[in-house]
């Protein structure tokens, strides 16, 4: 396997940013822009989860906790202080990173299934704290009154176009960073842990340290996704940190393809688009989504990108 040239990723990312940013110059579609904003949050969320699931073989059921934490930390910082938006965002991500480090320190030593359960339990505890700590979080009603979106460098994030541009750039940069981590020697180590943890530990890698690092990084990027989500809804809601939301990320990963870097992004795209389209035509959204998921799970038995790559293996670069 040849080392992946980092500059290629950077070029692809740059092209993606330019294309997405250019679209509103030709055609303004608020719905499309909303879609991209939500996708940027969800793409970071799902891709960061896949760093654990696909790359390291750690199935976390509680990833939504960090998404929610990022959203709350950011929204509360903006509401309670006069810090500028980027500073608040960075603080929120740092806070989430630290939380992920603490949670990870407790969880990563457990083996596969138990790891999944304990992450789920920690998430549910976190969720019930959000609900109970009403004076800070607003309980189930979420943070009320909106997030003041202070201008940054002439960007007014209450404006949809500016939010669109901001989210696109942040998401692509975030994905690029995750990509870089995945292809780095550390990323290789994680894949080796997934494939054969005994062999890796014979090579002198301290398993729990590598896992903890992966868990912390994944938490950080989920937190960044949460910041974008908070910007979109202009608030933070406990549902962002709830179990079904973790489920959404898992489904995005599974639908898009666990072994492809862009799989979760595609999966997120499919889920969001399905939700947007189907809910317009029927209130039986669950029925439709359920059938689509079954078709993937029982029919393809893997995510779309993984399926495509398996179907045309020879054409791969």
């Amino acid at each position: 396997m040849k080392a992946h040239p980092a500059w290629r990723d950077a070029v692809i990312a740059a092209i993606a940013v330019i294309v997405v940013l250019a679209i509103p110059l030709f055609h303004r579609s608020p719905a499309f822009e909303d879609f991209v904003i939500r996708l940027s949050a969800m793409a970071l969320f799902a891709t960061s989860l896949n760093l654990l699931v696909g790359n390291t073989g750690m199935v976390s059921f509680g990833h939504g906790m960090f998404y929610g934490l990022g959203a709350y930390a950011f929204a509360l910082t903006m509401q309670m202080t006069d810090l500028s938006l980027p500073v608040a965002a960075v603080l929120a991500v740092l806070f989430t990173t630290f939380a992920a480090l603490c949670v990870g320190a407790i969880c990563v030593r457990l083996s596969t299934d138990y790891f999944a359960f304990i992450t789920l339990a920690v998430q549910m505890l976190f969720f019930s704290i959000i609900i109970s700590w009403q004076s800070l979080t607003g309980g189930d009603q979420g943070l009320r009154g909106g997030i003041p979106r202070r201008e940054i460098f002439g960007f007014e994030l209450a404006s949809q176009l500016h939010l669109y541009q901001f989210c696109t750039v942040v998401a692509v940069l975030g994905l690029l960073a995750l990509r870089h981590i995945t292809t780095s020697p550390f990323g290789q180590t994680l894949r080796m842990i997934r494939d054969n943890e005994n062999r890796v530990s014979f090579l002198g890698v301290v398993l729990w340290q590598a896992r903890l690092r992966a868990f912390t990084i994944a938490g950080a990027f989920a937190g960044l996704g949460g910041v974008l989500a908070a910007l979109f809804v202009s608030g933070a809601y406990p549902e962002l940190a709830d179990w079904p939301n973790s489920g959404q990320a898992i489904f995005a990963v599974m639908l898009g393809g666990i072994n492809s870097f862009l799989g979760p992004v595609l999966g997120a795209m499919i889920l969001l688009a399905l939700n947007d389209v189907v809910t317009r035509f029927t209130e039986y959204y669950g029925l439709v989504l359920g059938i689509v998921i079954l078709a993937f799970a029982v029919g393809l038995r893997r995510g779309v990108l993984d399926f495509l790559r398996l179907a045309w293996p020879g054409r791969a670069r």
Partner: protein, 418 residues
């Protein structure tokens, strides 16, 4: 699998990805606006344990749609509702509100979400700034009472928590004095509406009857399947009366499980939340529950009110809820406001709605007013007691609106809203 795993994307899969992406992108945003139809977006909870909220709202709105279209529509345009289910998830509520305006071409919104959803919609309305929205179901006072949360183009046509609390407390204070019920228990859903509203009731209740003390409180979760341990806890404390804010499916489950423990023979129960369909769904509804009139065909006891209630019953084969009349009045406000402003433009329409007084069967005196703080006053509130058979509620005492507004103002000052 391992042999085919490659770090990057193949060209073909990239193309396929782009194709799939293009297909998913194209579908939702194909414009299909018919300029003559005026679309009104409605969002609510249409599934799950409190689907009653959304469905009884939708039913009322569909009746209004027929009525308004038969009368020529708004500004000569026929109206059409687009209904969306947020499943009770606030971030989905926010998305739907934007979607209805941005891509489905809705020019007016009716937000029939429960409280948490309504707060999410409120922020969207504030951000959009170019569309009028009427919240029909959120009773949480802060939505409009708190000037930081109030939005310039968003209104509430619904009972408001603090109004209910004043009206209910005055009634219950008199009731408890007459019967010497001083030991109370509370049992309310453990979320913001339950906690805030219970606190409001207790504050006023103690103000009007200082002898009242709360001997125990229970806070079940929303949608909790089993209330057994809560019920036994209440019985243990031996209160003389119980105040509960549970509603819909939760209230029904609570009553059924409390019946098993014969709770209703051990204490007087008071609740503001008994709607017709809930009374109908509860088998063995105990008599003598002190209750607010959510919606009642016999209160106000006018022909217009009865006629509407019967029409609803006939069309949907069930009786209306408080949410039904609130949605109906929301449409009556739109009708009158649009006529006055002669436009749908958000600023002008908002100005027309502010301070507007309309004639409606659901007013305490045949009218309801949209006050300057974007919330309705003077709607019918009364308290009475339940009977297992029609008319389901008797001995109804109407609330004194003068008193309500006086105490509401006092409360607003305490909260530093004014």
């Amino acid at each position: 699998m391992t042999t085919t795993r490659k770090p990057g994307l193949s060209r073909r899969s990239t193309l396929a990805l782009m194709g799939a992406g293009a297909a998913t992108f194209a579908a939702p945003w194909v414009a299909r606006a018919d300029a003559n139809i005026l679309r009104i977006g409605m969002q609510s909870i249409l599934s799950g344990p409190i689907a009653l909220l959304g469905n009884s709202s939708r039913n009322a709105l569909m009746m209004e749609q027929d009525r308004i279209n038969a009368a020529g529509g708004f500004l000569g345009r026929q109206i059409e509702f687009l209904f969306r289910d947020s499943k009770g998830q606030p971030q989905e509520s926010a998305r739907i509100a934007r979607e209805l305006v941005n891509s489905s071409g809705c020019e007016l919104l009716v937000d029939s979400e429960a409280s948490s959803g309504a707060f999410a919609v409120q922020e969207v309305i504030r951000d959009l700034g170019n569309v009028v929205c009427i919240h029909t179901n959120s009773e949480t006072s802060a939505l409009t009472a708190d000037p930081k949360i109030r939005a310039p183009t968003a209104f509430r046509v619904a009972r408001q928590g603090v109004h209910d609390a004043v009206a209910g407390s005055i009634y219950l204070a008199d009731f408890s004095k007459a019967r010497k019920l001083n030991k109370w228990a509370t049992c309310s859903p453990d979320y913001a509406y339950g906690r805030d509203t219970t606190a409001q009731y207790l504050q006023f209740l103690k103000q009007f009857n200082p002898d009242i003390e709360v001997v125990t409180d229970a806070w079940p979760k929303l949608g909790q399947p089993d209330f057994t341990e809560v019920i036994t806890k209440l019985i243990q404390a031996k209160p003389q009366a119980l105040f509960t804010l549970l509603y819909a499916g939760d209230l029904s489950a609570f009553v059924n499980q409390a019946n098993v423990y014969a709770l209703f023979s051990q204490m007087t129960v008071a609740t503001p939340n008994v709607d017709y369909p809930v009374m109908a769904a509860i088998k063995n509804l105990p008599a003598g529950i002190q209750s607010a009139t959510r919606y009642l065909e016999t209160f106000p006891d006018t022909p217009a009110n009865k006629e509407w209630g019967e029409a609803y019953h006939k069309r949907w084969n069930e009786r209306p809820t408080t949410w039904s009349w609130q949605c109906t009045v929301a449409m009556q406000f739109y009708e009158a406001g649009i006529k006055k402003a002669n436009t749908l433009e958000a600023k002008a329409l908002s100005a027309a709605l502010t301070g507007l007084k309309i004639n409606t069967p659901f007013g305490a005196d045949g009218t309801i007013t949209m006050r300057d703080d974007h919330t309705t006053i003077n709607y019918a509130i009364g308290w009475g007691q339940t009977t297992p058979k029609e008319p389901f509620m008797v001995d109804i005492k109407p609330a004194d609106w003068g008193k309500i507004i006086e105490l509401e103002t006092e409360w607003k000052k305490q909260q530093k809203y004014i």
